[in-house]
Symmetry: C2
Subunit: 253 residues, 2 copies
């Protein structure tokens, strides 16, 4: 019944457009009563995202099943990959839906609320992880937003290419950036591709001046022993340059 309604709805949406299709049209094609449509889908928009509820539940369960010693940022990145998997399970459907939501403002707005629920689930988990920490909720909200943005960036680029290419690799790459900026790069051998962000902290050769910073920038001085990286920064240097130097020192660029 759900499937019949979804199939009928998408057929008509593609034929004549979302707004030009009424609920009566859908139920007429599916051969069911109008009342039944709203039994299965609380609104006309919901029929476009039939698997969202289940996926959100899966994500919530996944996060709830996290162990105490999980690395939080890594965990939410893995949770985001669950969403990608749902999209990748049915590329043709996902691409059709993408085109639809791109050009119908009402659906775009609805999709925002869908994404918002995912983001809040991630943020709630992170808030729990960071409870008691200074600025824990701030950090949780920012990381959740960054993870969602990175995921969506890769996902949409994959959808724009009609589902060609490796969506999983693209999302891994995008999430790697977030992990590099905010989180741990645990299990370096198994996950991070060579030369990608998200790798482990390591040491490089002796100091080479960065040039770009000029007189105001931070200056990486040395990366000496085999298991440590030493960064010497000038007092007064912007913090982001220090971070940039750390990244440079460990070979991220």
């Amino acid at each position: 019944m759900r499937e019949a309604l979804v199939a009928a709805a998408f057929q008509l949406f593609l034929e004549r457009g979302y707004e030009q299709t009424t609920v009566d049209d859908i139920v007429a094609l599916a051969g069911v009563g109008r009342r039944s449509f709203f039994r299965y889908f609380p609104s006309k928009e919901d029929v476009v995202f039939p698997d969202h509820e289940r996926c959100l539940a899966d994500m919530t369960a996944f996060l709830a099943a996290s162990g105490e010693d999980e690395e939080p940022v890594r965990r939410v990145c893995d949770a985001a990959r669950l969403v990608l998997r749902m999209y990748a399970e049915n590329p043709a459907f996902s691409v059709q839906r993408y085109r639809l939501t791109k050009q119908v403002p009402g659906l775009r707005a609805y999709e925002l609320s869908v994404v918002w629920h995912y983001e809040r689930a991630l943020a709630a988990y992170l808030r729990g992880c960071f409870a008691g920490h200074r600025d824990g909720t701030l950090r949780a909200d920012v990381i959740a937003a960054a993870v969602v943005a990175a995921h969506n960036n890769a996902l949409r680029s994959w959808l724009r290419s009609d589902g060609q290419g490796d969506a999983g690799a693209a999302v891994d790459h995008a999430l790697g950036h977030v992990q590099a900026a905010f989180g741990a790069a645990a299990a370096p051998a198994s996950k991070a591709p060579a030369g990608e962000p998200g790798g482990a902290v390591g040491s490089t050769g002796p100091a080479r001046p960065t040039g770009a910073g000029g007189s105001a920038g931070a200056r990486r001085a040395a990366a000496a022993a085999e298991d440590v990286v030493v960064v010497v920064a000038r007092r007064g240097a912007p913090l982001w340059r220090v971070v940039q130097e750390v990244e440079t020192a460990v070979g991220r660029d």
Copy 2:
């Protein structure tokens, strides 16, 4: 006319709730025709965010007026502060609206699309700045999302406190985290409050172990001479812990 409609609408929304108020009720109280309501507000939701269009235009203009040598992340943070200023101009109204949007799902969804427009404006600017860079659009999208999330975190906390306290300082603090993670903290003297992230890098006394990190974390070893800070991190430590250590070393906690 706009003002009359907004005033009438909010009076009724507060008296009997948003969904219990029809557009006919609003126009009857305002003493105008129903048709005029939709002339000024394309939908019932729009009357709740009467200044959003102007603010979005202001932000777009602000970003378009950026110079070539602006630091992009700093610039989008300043753009976000424009939004805060709009909220802070009328605290009572903003708090009322916050309570309304918090409890009416339809308004919450609408607010998401409002926020989304701001985020896309920021992202578009950053995409321009990062054009040609590797993963430029990804970086732009993630930073825009992080800026919006930080801004909203501080804004909502201020709204929850009924507009008490210094909203500007809270947002500066939140945006400081984003700048620390992604961008520059230029002009250290003029902007960053003492003890907040986003300020200049400074030195502290000798090493004091952080405890929280445990065996897996990075370890700040020394902050020695008067104009440098030396951070020693264990190879394999998560980068975000290193950054946390840098922040700790320069006296941010």
